[in-house]
Amino acid sequence: MPSLSMTINGKQVTKDVDPNTLLVQFLRENLSLTGTHVGCDTSQCGACVVHVNGKSVKSCTMLAVQAEGSDVTTIEGLAQGDELHPMQAAFREHHGLQCGFCTPGMVMSAVDLLQNNPDPSETEIREWLEGNICRCTGYHNIVKAIQAAASEMRR
């Protein structure tokens, strides 16, 4: 088994893994970071989105070994201690989640959107979320939350 090193949520991690382990399996099974979810087997639901070197990535679509040496942020690494990231806070404030299953991926994806586009229109938000499926909210409040986080983060 190859040994694999990467930085996850600011901590250096080294583990032996099977080369065919997906990044999402590595996070969930090897590191017990179960905040990243698996909602499909065709790379479409986005429940598994994490950041690899600052960019949103579907962790079900990437081998763990491909992340060798990378800087990975998962939903567990977004808040600063007890203080929620503005995106997390906005999802709570605007009821952008119900069952919470799509939420980690939604939040990670939305944070990346604002890195690319700090002031997105409603249409741009909806188009960006094309790769994230939510069955509960009808997206209405997710869009609202992202708009609110964007204006908060621009201040």
């Binding site: 179960t34 979810h37 087997d41 009821h95 919470g100 938000i125 909806r126 009808g138 209405h140 409040n141």
Partner: protein, 786 residues
């Protein structure tokens, strides 16, 4: 009202864990020494299984055991039951063929359970399943709902694949009215088959403790107590007292997680066989083939209308597909949750429905968000709309003319239900105003200048929630009671634990139920903790479905709080040296009437646990349990209006505006309620525009078995919604609440299809995909050009 009491849009307390990755869903749980299960599923729709050879798989690396239906038969494992017996037109019970967790002699749909492999790792279990040899003696698939009765027989017990032929209402009266009516409007409708697709796939862990001879089952369940009852009493023959079912955080259900499935049954049974915990998590592809599907009706509807537009009679003929086996509640969905709603919001004097339920070689069909009520609403609101068009009447005014009027409540419908209260015109007026109905012709004309076809569509829906009373559902064939229970327990230091039998899988009960208790007991919201989803912690429960949690579960909590206050008054009276009758309770204080002498709830709770100075004959402790059995269903109702534009060149429908005005009775947390409305509309829009479960007619293969083929609504398919409310309080529960979970999914499909057919001027079946709409537009252009 305390700051976080009833009516406040309190932000949800469960969100912190979900937003920081600390939710605990079933697949997040791992038990020491656990093994993994993989299910070998049938690759064919319908076949005799003549041989299953497992030796090679058993010898594969990491494999601990391979089980087949014969192994379960040898252990006397029973059949998964259907909990509702429908009696047909001739007084016969429905056909309920056995539904074994692992098949014994025949497979009946693609995805049916042939064998279970248990191994050290999931990959090993999966690889080993490839080594199982199965001989299938294939039989023709039966897929089409309408043609099922002439297809190859699937179960020996069910000739013509007929599960039941059932009726409700006065057939003679309806036929008489039809024969004399000035107009009879007729429609043939398909209510398309859907796959629920909660984002969390189903999962289960069976864990057996040989030391205590007891089981713990972790499951993605909407109702853990019911799962325990079914596992113990019907399938595995275990004492309920030795089985604990935990349904931790559950990632959405929409009905699909109500039922007892083969997989959790097998994991529980196998855990004892192999002496180690057994875990299974569905892949999405497995969810597509094996979760219970929804809807799938083919209907002919006739509405008799007089010269003035008054509805005289409604006749409905439905064939409902129940799939290959009866799922836990599949029979009540196309009957008592469907035909009983056919009055809708209208005072139609005569109604008759005939429903034939048929077996097919497809996945079982059961309740999916709305369950029967969307099917009823769809046909009523479509035929009413078409009637308005044929009679040249305004569709809003035709509805208004036929509404049950506020002074007619309680209103006995011709199809068994008694509506307790409502004000349908109020919702209609508000919705018309919000969407600026009068301004529509101008907006349509403007759209035309841009080459767009603009349409508007209404839907005036009613729903029956709360599913109750037990005696009534029992008389109709339900195998269970439909009460709910709650335990409210003060701790000595004044905090409160509330154990509810309702289950939250997105509904936010931990917040809204705490608001309720905070208000009822006059204690800070922060001091109330809601416990759900664990049969080891909660006295009893019936779970969450049918928008029943607040109306039934919340009412049980109110009753338990009342008992707490009653006992508290005795304790307070003693402490205040007053007579119990002179002590009143308000805002968390027990006060001697007419004085300023009082004791707080906290002081009373402390005294109950440190009873040094205590009334004689009163037990220590402050811990009360209540069961609530509703007196009637509740009847949320409302009006949704969709405004859309069709691009005739692409067939794409754009939803430009959506107004929802709902009457849910009293609202506990408006933020959560609006969220439920949004989510429901999205699923309804999905059904009307995008989603369709398709089986290949020849092979019986599921064609739409992944997110590449089954179109889930994405963010860019939907608009923002405008939500308004009207309120008539439910008359028969202590909160005046009705339920809000399913409304959107019920109201949305007819609103949208009415809008699209208004725009394109032709009938169209769901889902109105861009391709279908485009074809209609092209045909019309071609016609116009001739």
């Amino acid at each position: 009202m305390p700051e976080n009491g009833i009516g406040a849009p309190v932000r949800r307390r469960e969100d912190k864990r979900f937003l920081t990755g600390k939710g605990r869903y079933t697949d997040d749980i791992n038990r020491p020494g656990q093994l993994y299960a993989y299910f070998l599923r049938s690759p064919v729709a319908h076949a005799k299984v003549t041989r299953v050879e497992t030796a090679q798989a058993e010898a594969a690396p990491g494999v601990v055991a391979v089980f087949t239906g014969q192994d379960m038969a040898a252990d006397n494992v029973g059949s998964l039951p259907c909990g509702w017996t429908v009696t047909d037109r001739h007084g016969e019970p429905h056909k309920a063929p056995p539904h074994y967790p692992l098949v014994r002699d025949k497979v009946r749909y693609v995805g049916d359970h042939v064998a279970m492999v248990v191994a050290e790792s999931y990959a090993q279990a999966r690889d080993a399943a490839d080594l199982i040899e199965v001989d299938y003696d294939e039989l023709p698939a039966v897929v089409d709902t309408k043609e099922a009765m002439s297809g190859t027989q699937i179960h020996d017990e069910a000739p013509s694949n007929l599960c039941f032929d059932w009726e409700l209402g006065d057939k003679d009266a309806v036929e008489q009215a039809m024969s004399q009516a000035a107009n009879v409007v007729e429609l043939d409708l398909i209510n398309n088959r859907l796959i629920p697709n909660a984002m969390e796939p189903r999962a289960a862990i069976g864990d057996y403790d040989s030391g205590t001879d007891s089981y713990t089952v972790y499951s993605t369940s909407q109702n853990p107590h019911l799962l325990r009852l079914i596992l113990c009493a019907f399938v595995l023959n275990l004492p309920e007292s030795r089985v604990r079912v935990i349904a931790p955080d559950v990632g959405g259900g929409f009905g699909s997680k109500i039922y007892a499935y083969a997989e959790e049954t097998c994991c529980t049974w196998a855990a004892k066989k192999v002496g180690r915990p057994v875990k299974w998590t569905a892949e999405r592809g497995e969810a597509f083939v094996s979760d219970a599907h929804g809807r799938d009706h083919v209907t002919n509807v006739k509405l008799a209308v007089d010269q003035e537009g008054k509805f005289l009679a409604l006749k409905v003929d439905t064939t409902a597909n129940v799939g290959a086996y009866l799922s836990s509640f599949s029979t009540c969905v196309p009957t008592y949750l469907y035909a009983t709603l056919l009055a809708g919001q209208y005072a139609t004097p005569a109604i008759y429905a005939n429903v034939k339920a048929v077996f097919t070689s497809t996945a079982p069909v059961d309740a999916y968000r709305g369950a029967g009520r969307p099917e009823a609403t769809y046909l009523i609101e479509r035929v009413v709309e078409v009637a308005a068009r044929q009679l040249g009447m305004d569709p809003a005014e035709l509805r208004r003319k036929n509404f049950i009027k506020p002074d007619q409540f309680p209103y006995q419908t011709p199809v068994a239900l008694t509506y307790d209260i409502g004000n349908y015109e109020a919702s209609l007026d508000k919705a018309l105003e919000m969407i600026d109905y009068k301004g529509f012709p101008a907006r349509k004309a403007e759209a035309e200048t841009r080459g767009k076809l603009r349409g508007i569509g209404l839907s005036a829906y009613i729903e029956a929630c709360g599913i109750a009373p037990s005696a009534v559902v029992g008389a109709l064939g339900a195998g269970v009671g439909l009460w709910e229970s709650a335990q409210v327990r003060f701790n000595a230091t004044g905090t409160v634990s509330v154990m509810t039998g309702a289950h939250s899988h997105g509904q936010g009960h931990e917040t809204s139920f705490a608001q309720l208790v905070s208000e009822k007991l006059g204690i800070p919201y922060e001091n109330v903790e809601i416990v759900h989803g664990d049969t080891g912690a909660i006295p009893m429960g019936m779970g969450t479905y049918g928008s029943r949690s607040l109306a039934v579960g919340g009412s049980a909590i109110v009753r338990a709080c009342d008992k707490i206050v009653e006992k508290g008054r005795k304790i307070a009276a003693h402490l205040l040296e007053a007579s119990v009758d002179d002590v009143e309770f308000k805002d968390g204080q027990f006060t001697v009437v007419g004085t300023d002498r009082s004791k707080s709830m906290g002081e009373v709770a402390f005294t109950a646990y440190v009873p040094h100075n205590y009334p004689e004959g009163v037990e220590p402790g402050l811990d009360e349990t209540a069961f609530y059995d509703p007196l009637n269903f509740t009847y949320p109702a409302g009006v949704h209006i969709a405004e859309i534009e069709v691009d005739p060149d692409t067939g794409i429908t754009q939803i430009v505006d959506w107004v929802a005005v709902d009457d849910f009775g009293r609202v506990l947390n408006p933020m959560i309620v609006e969220g439920q409305v949004h989510g429901g509309i999205a699923q309804g829009v999905g059904q009307a525009l995008l989603e369709n479960c398709v089986y290949d007619k020849e092979s019986g293969q599921l064609v739409t078995g992944s997110y590449m083929d089954y179109t889930m609504p994405r963010a860019d398919d939907l608009p923002s919604f405008r939500v308004g409310m009207t309120v008539t309080e439910c008359t028969h529960n202590p909160l005046g609440v009705k339920g809000c979970g399913e409304a959107g999914a019920i109201a949305a499909p007819p609103a949208l299809i009415n809008a699209i057919t208004d725009a394109i001027g032709e009938e169209i079946d769901m889902p109105a995909t861009a391709e279908k709409v485009w074809r209609v537009c092209q045909a019309r252009f071609a016609q116009a050009a001739e």
